[in-house]
């Protein structure tokens, strides 16, 4: 062999290098620089953060490649970008642009209500959202190299992120309690492919890296998700919708590294100013929920 690119190992491998880190939503090169200086392990290049997507309404699409390219030119950390669920041409465009990771995201308006993107043929890796183990395994079966629990983006309310992370781990613990001959029926119940399900049972965790997303607004929120078993966190609106983004970004990075050390968490949480005002997820109508997009 000479060299092989775009393999499942290198796709999953980049996510492994991001573990224990914070991926931050940014909409300008200046914000990307602030994120990098604060210690972000990657940035998500967007046209609007989820809270503003919510406020604006209408159809949310892939960001202007011009914005993404300028952000790629500004920082040395990996740059991710979002495409709509099922919109494989947006994915092709973003791959051609050279982004490092693609998020097939429920935060944008879905392009296909029946099918997610077949992610295997792409050379760049995909991260996808999930609410429970079955959804995670469906995405892995389609070729996702990284998973994030969905939470409820743009709310600053952690409750859905907690629900989804607990659901994934509940599903894994249940798998481990089952005898092998009951796994096909469990796969049927979860509506999940059997092979990644077996691999998950053997490993005692998902076979890909799993971050938490959707509602993280404080260092304590980030550490909560880490203690619940996340490999790292995405912070979207929580940083740039707060009073003073740079110190908050830096504090969340330090909190994720030392998520099990309450003394450090207390130290980094001091004097950060007002967090984003937020939106209680319970107060949202069914149509306003983003997490229910995709299947």
């Amino acid at each position: 062999m000479a060299v092989e690119t775009g393999t499942i190992t290198v796709k999953r491998g980049l996510a492994q290098m991001l573990k224990g880190g914070v991926i931050m939503d940014v909409v300008t090169p200046e914000q990307a620089k602030i994120a990098e200086d604060a210690g972000a392990c990657a940035v998500m290049a967007l046209e609007r953060v989820p809270a503003d997507i919510r406020a604006a309404g209408g159809v949310a699409r892939m960001a202007d490649p011009e914005i993404i390219a300028r952000i790629m030119d500004t920082v040395s950390i990996p740059v991710m970008a979002k495409c709509r669920i099922g919109h494989f041409v947006e994915a092709q465009v973003l791959q051609a642009l050279g982004v490092d990771y693609l998020d097939e995201s429920e935060v944008l308006t879905p392009a296909d209500e029946a099918h997610h993107i077949n992610k295997h043929p792409f050379k760049i890796p995909f991260v996808c959202g999930c609410r429970d183990l079955g959804e995670a395994l469906r995405r892995i079966g389609e070729g996702a190299a990284m998973i994030r629990t969905k939470g409820e983006a743009g709310t600053g309310d952690i409750v859905e992120a907690v629900r989804h992370m607990r659901a994934v781990w509940d599903g894994i613990r249940r798998l481990q309690s089952l005898p092998e001959d009951e796994l096909p029926a469990e796969a049927k119940t979860l509506n999940a492919p059997l092979e990644p399900l077996k691999e998950t049972r053997e490993l005692g965790r998902l076979p890909v890296v799993n971050f938490a997303a959707g509602g993280i607004a404080t260092p304590a929120d980030a550490a909560l998700m880490m203690q619940l078993g996340a490999d790292g966190v995405f912070v979207g609106s929580g940083i740039y919708k707060s009073d003073d983004p740079a110190p908050r970004a830096h504090a969340i990075v330090r909190a994720v590294t030392n998520y099990n050390d309450p003394a450090i968490l207390a130290e980094v949480s001091r004097g950060l100013g007002e967090p984003m005002k937020g939106l209680a997820a319970k107060g949202l109508s069914q149509e306003e929920l983003l997490a229910t997009r995709g299947w």
Binding site: M1, A2, V3, E4, T5, G6, T7, T9, V10, G13, L14, Q16, M17, L18, K19, G20, G21, E36, D37, A38, G39, A40, C41, A42, M72, S76, I77, P78, Q95, G98, V99, D100, Y101, K123, I124, P125, H250, V253, R254, V256, T257, N258, D261
Partner: protein
């Protein structure tokens, strides 16, 4: 018992830990200067080099890590860990630890789409067989200059594209470094090689 510290600020430290445990080493996750006490060896894992440098400063680890290097404790850096051990890292806005007389350029193969796997011949870790070492390069750095006191352990093969024949593994005294990730390979020979260096050294390190 041999105790290996793994710098656990960010990155794939758990993967290193898993291989070391398989090889019956005692492993400690290091996040504070105190964690560097009584180690027999230290691994700097893969991750994002700017993030790791930021956190080394935030948690006051820079001077203690310099002291570890100065003491001659065996240290191994993989990918981002190699960048932090280098004397010269191009375009990095943070000071490095200066253990290795090399010049390194970050993300020099291109973006993630250019990350790759290949087989390497590494005589230093040979176990009697000629089995190649399967190596995974993730947004890897390129070593542009190697000082006279540095022993090159592996090159990319001649048919490996634009960066063919560049140095990807090296040793300088008690320090080793790889631009790829042996912790992602299903092959523990590189970790065994490091543990052999640690055992030859044969003493624990205690910071003053």
């Amino acid at each position: 018992m041999t105790t290996i510290g793994v710098l656990s600020l960010q990155g794939d430290f758990v993967e290193h830990q898993a291989v070391l445990r398989r090889l019956s080493a005692d492993v400690r996750q290091v996040r504070t200067p105190d964690g560097l006490r009584d180690l027999d060896g230290l691994i700097m894992p893969g991750g994002e080099s700017t993030t790791l440098c930021r956190l080394i400063q935030d948690f006051n680890l820079y001077d203690p890590l310099r002291a570890v290097i100065k003491s001659g404790l065996p240290v191994w850096g993989t990918c981002a860990g190699l960048i932090i051990l280098a004397q010269r890292a191009i375009d990095l806005d943070f000071p490095t630890l200066g253990a290795l007389d090399i010049t390194v350029r970050r993300n020099a193969y291109g973006r993630q789409v250019d990350s790759f796997e290949t087989n390497l011949s590494i005589p230093a870790i040979a176990d009697g067989s000629s089995r190649p070492f399967h190596s995974v390069f993730i947004r890897a750095p390129v070593i542009e200059e190697v000082g006279a006191g540095v022993e090159v352990l592996a090159h990319l093969p001649a048919d490996a594209g634009p960066a063919a024949t560049s140095t990807v593994a090296l040793r300088q005294g008690p320090f080793i470094a790889t631009t790829f990730h042996p912790e992602l390979a299903d092959d523990d020979r590189f970790h065994r090689y490091f543990l052999d260096i640690v055992r030859q050294q044969g003493r624990g390190y205690t910071p003053k």
